[in-house]
């Protein structure tokens, strides 16, 4: 009994040490990329912001990508820091709106909803569907519709209706494909989105969705 509990303790310690090493290793790799590409002052500020994000248990790689996007596009240090701060704010707001523990994929999709013009109130309407398998697809679909120009409230109505109908993730990919096809053919985006959502709901969860991805 003693040796077993000792083994358990040892394994726990090893796991903890490895976890720390893993997190530290990732953090150092992220820091290195920032230091290589950004002005020293900007890099230091972004790294400090990332430390804060880690404390808040937010994903940090999207922050790195935001900073690198700014550098690649020739933005000033101030603009880069502003954009990173704004993304942290979106992530925090999104998590609060959806409530409790959600996956990283869902959190990033929800932050994108906010970035493209959605509101925390609209995200809160999806809170009831937190345990829905297709929540991540639903959030991605919501961000897509808003980005395409469907009014945010109406986009939320459509996505909530799809989630209520228990449609699978493929249905949201299909919706995107169908709307893109119609928009290219000159149809108004809101009309196209509404018509296709209604059709998908009528078809039900076992639809023949093709699983397409991107326009």
């Amino acid at each position: 009994m003693r040796s077993r509990s000792r083994l358990r303790g040892t394994l726990r310690t090893i796991s903890a040490v490895l976890l720390v090493i893993l997190i530290t290793g990732e953090a150092e790799a992220q820091d290195l990329r920032l230091r290589e590409r950004l002005e020293p002052g900007t890099a230091a500020t972004v790294i400090a912001l990332m430390d804060s994000a880690r404390t808040l248990e937010l994903p940090t790689e999207p922050l790195v990508q935001k900073a690198l996007e700014g550098e690649s596009k020739g933005a000033t240090g101030d603009a880069i820091v502003r954009a990173v701060r704004s993304l942290i704010h979106d992530l925090v707001t999104a998590r609060k709106a959806l409530g409790g523990e959600i996956g990283e994929g869902e959190l990033l999709a929800a932050a994108t909803v906010l970035h493209v013009g959605g509101t925390p109130g609209q995200l809160e309407r999806l809170r009831l569907h937190r345990s829905h398998a297709a929540l991540s697809a639903g959030l991605t679909g919501l961000a897509y519709l808003i980005s395409r120009g469907v009014p945010a409230e109406q986009s939320t109505d459509l996505i909530v209706a799809m989630l209520n109908a228990r449609l699978p993730g493929r249905a949201f990919a299909t919706l995107q494909e169908l709307v893109e096809t119609d928009v290219r053919a000159g149809a108004p985006v809101t009309t196209a989105a509404t018509a296709h959502v209604n059709a998908l709901i009528r078809m039900g969860p076992s639809d023949r969705t093709s699983g397409g991805r991107r326009p």
Partner: protein, 176 residues
């Protein structure tokens, strides 16, 4: 130590060192427990298992560090949620008659202008297939290394840095 003590304190010390009388039933329980513990065969066989496990964890750690740069964008399903396809092949196309080179720059390649060139498949049609993880992906085309262009077939994204940017929505699809 007690040699240095005042001899007058010696009786008090002796009294303090004396073991207090133990209750017979408590002594019995303790002895039984100790006998049971020492009678148990040594579990040396567990040590190699622990070593193997630690080795496996170390290999996993090395792999995680090796592929760490890719790890972030994987949507991790919350408990009870579906498993998603890990990658989706997505084709990006740009029509640019006058271009000598076209690259795609985005969240998937650290916004490195040289990392992902497009191939000209016919006059003025530039194309690339990328394996992307589900989620939203921001990207731009860079023509001749200097001209930023949004994807005319894509969805325009809010630009934080004043350059045309597109956004791709890679819908998470349940693994079949």
């Amino acid at each position: 130590m007690s040699d240095d003590l005042d001899p007058r304190l010696e009786p008090w010390f002796r009294a303090l060192r004396r073991e207090p009388p133990a209750r017979a039933d408590a002594r019995m329980r303790l002895q039984t427990a100790l006998r049971a513990e020492y009678a148990r065969p040594a579990r040396l066989a567990l040590a190699p298992q622990a070593t193997l496990l630690a080795a496996a964890v170390l290999v996993a750690l090395a792999s995680a560090l090796w592929f760490g740069a890719e790890r972030w964008s994987r949507p991790e399903a919350a408990p009870g949620l579906a498993k998603y396809e890990e990658f989706t092949v997505t084709q990006f196309v740009l029509h640019a008659d006058d271009a000598r080179s076209v690259t795609i720059v985005g969240d998937f390649n650290d916004w490195d202008p040289d990392a992902t060139p497009l191939v000209q498949t016919e006059a003025g049609i530039w194309m690339v297939d990328l394996r992307l993880r589900p989620g939203t992906v921001r990207y731009s085309f860079l023509v001749d290394g200097k001209e930023w262009r949004a994807d005319p077939r894509g969805v325009p994204a809010p630009s934080d840095f004043g350059r045309p940017t597109s956004i791709a929505f890679i819908t998470p699809i349940e693994a079949s």
